[in-house]
């Protein structure tokens, strides 16, 4: 096994038990801060597998059992990592109730993050709902970028406060532009841009199709159900033009050109 040239920031081998040091809410979203002073600085777009150190299990149908994947949303100089969580099931429910004083198990950083814009293109970041998370750290790294965010309604749009200066669309028009965030994106596709998107599959598919139509490169941060996060289970595959790839090791960021469709 010859040492491969790493195409990503490597994770320390083994999960580590880390203290929760902050919890803030932005509308329905919870920003969880975890102190990871000895951990490496993740690449923007990388993720971590998280589980509560206590009481992981015993929720609906006894779940959660496996850890859950979350994009690293921000890293502070002291090693503090921020995650943006939305409570959608037993795993996120449990993580959303953690408070400073509780611990998490963290494995990461994992996966391949965003690549720099090709040929000096102008980055445009597009997020839907909790898909805002990886765009925060990517915007930080880029030193700021045009950011377009779509939310269901004004309540959810409270999450937009996490990216100051972002433009917002809501499905019901209760905040910002009424309509899909792709409508805001369409207006940005004139010049030499590269699009970075994260959000629900229908939004990503709309972004992919739109960028393909305008011949604009795009990098999409996808999701899929993951058991392990480090290539062990082959559970997280998504179909690409080259067949299935494991999102946890070959993604979560995939080049839009590699995908026929986001399903």
């Amino acid at each position: 096994m010859s040492a491969p040239r790493p195409d990503r920031t490597l994770a320390p081998f083994g999960r580590r038990r880390l203290p929760v040091v902050g919890r803030e809410t932005f509308g329905p979203y919870v920003v969880l801060s975890v102190a990871d002073a000895d951990g490496p600085a993740p690449d923007p777009g990388q993720f971590a597998m998280l589980a509560a150190a206590e009481r992981w299990g015993g929720g609906a149908d006894g779940r959660p059992f496996l850890p859950r994947a979350f994009s690293v949303a921000r890293r502070h100089g002291d090693g503090r990592l921020e995650f943006v969580l939305e409570d959608v099931g037993p795993g996120t429910e449990r993580l959303c109730e953690l408070e400073p004083g509780d611990d998490v198990w963290l494995l990461g950083p994992l996966g391949r993050g965003f690549a720099a814009p090709r040929d000096g293109r102008r980055p445009v970041l597009v997020g839907g709902g909790v898909g805002i998370a990886p765009l925060m750290i990517w915007g930080d790294a880029l030193g700021g970028a045009t950011t377009l965010l779509g939310f269901r309604d004004a309540a959810h749009a409270a999450g937009a406060a996490l990216v100051p200066g972002a433009r917002v669309a809501t499905d019901d028009g209760s905040a910002g532009h009424q309509g899909f965030v792709t409508e805001l994106l369409a207006a940005e596709l004139g010049g030499d841009v590269e699009v970075y998107a994260c959000g629900p599959p229908p939004m990503l598919e709309a972004v992919r199709a739109l960028c393909a139509e305008h011949d604009v490169p795009a990098q999409l941060a996808l999701e899929s159900g993951m058991a392990c996060g480090f290539g062990a289970c082959f559970g997280c595959v998504v179909p690409t033009r080259d067949g299935y790839v494991r999102l946890c090791v070959d993604g979560p960021v995939l080049d839009a050109a590699a995908l026929a469709e986001v399903a």
């Binding site: 490597l10 320390p12 999960r15 480090f230 062990a232």
Partner: protein, 304 residues
């Protein structure tokens, strides 16, 4: 806690379960740290087939309260791809390599066994017999006769240790183990996953998994593993690799007490990639080997 298994000397009795740890992918994620702290005393590959396989359509995973169901569908590069790409990388691992193979006919399996048997990187072979025989329609590993015939066909092709991986989805794994022993197996391993499925919560009546049905693993199958290992031990003298739901040292201890010689950790590695080493250590230190917090004498016992 060094142990010897089919002539291999292993540092401790904990290996990985086939298909639950990809050392090459893990190397991409963790770098050389993986090699330094390699959690298993031998590395068992995911199942390799003659031709490449894409695997099943997603979703491939369903979480249970005490485990999971997978319908991965044995994606792999096929024999040639494996020999060309994977074997050289795996040769760098600090532990012996056991290659797990499967075929839908005895000839296919014989080809795989011969090809891997010739490679010095390979220490032993595991035969995944949870596969229907395309000729008879019978699940090879569910029927003693099928297993005997398979062993007769493949045994002549290698002198390396052959481990038969039994399926729990049959009336008597012990009968199958006895057939494997009589026909030249060097060891048996069990249990493979237990057939199960889940319904899609959003599409009534439709299965969740892309493959329809899948295999249950993790703590939910631990009690099944324990009883089958004990039943097999009562019937054969072969070394046994026991697995199914091992999360802690005491779970490994239970399997060893039931008759296993090695223990494989599968699903628990998904929760904790270092689980193999942790279980080995808990076992060695007799940590966590007692289930209850208090010793027996001072309480009102439960055994009426």
């Amino acid at each position: 806690m060094a142990v010897s298994f089919c002539g291999l000397r292993l540092d401790h009795p904990i290996v990985n379960a086939s298909g639950t740890f990809d050392a090459i992918a893990a190397r991409r994620a963790f770098g050389d740290a993986l090699l330094r702290d390699f959690p298993f005393s031998a590395f068992v590959s995911k199942t390799v087939t003659l031709a490449p396989r894409q695997g099943n359509p997603p979703p491939r995973l369903w979480e249970l309260g005490a485990g999971m169901i997978n319908s991965i569908g044995l994606p792999n590069k096929g024999l040639e791809g494996y020999l060309a790409h994977d074997l050289p990388e795996l040769a760098a691992l600090p532990v012996p390599l056991i290659v797990n193979v499967m075929g839908s006919s005895a000839e296919d399996v014989a080809t795989l066994v011969r090809a891997f048997g010739e490679r010095e990187e390979v220490a032993a072979l595991e035969l995944n017999v949870s596969c229907p025989n395309v000729k008879t329609g019978l699940l090879m590993g569910a029927d003693p006769g099928e297993t005997a015939a398979l062993m007769d066909a493949v045994r002549p092709h290698t002198a390396k240790p052959l481990i038969v991986k039994l399926t729990p989805n049959c009336a008597s794994p012990a009968d199958v183990a006895a057939a494997a022993e009589a026909h030249g197996a060097d060891a048996v391993s069990l249990i493979n996953t237990v057939r199960g499925m889940a319904m899609d919560p959003r599409r009534p009546g439709e299965p969740w998994l892309g493959g329809g049905t899948g295999g249950i693993s993790g703590p939910a199958v631990r009690a099944v593993a324990l009883t089958q290992v004990r039943e097999v031990r009562a019937r054969v003298d072969l070394p046994i690799v026991g697995m199914g739901g091992v999360q802690r040292g005491r779970h490994a201890k239970d399997l060893l007490d039931a008759g296993a010689d090695l223990v494989a950790v599968g699903t628990e590695s998904f929760r904790d990639p270092g689980a193999g080493a942790r279980v080995a250590e808990e076992l060695a230190n007799c940590e966590d080997l007692v289930h209850t917090q208090q010793p027996a004498p001072a309480r009102i016992a439960h055994d009426g």
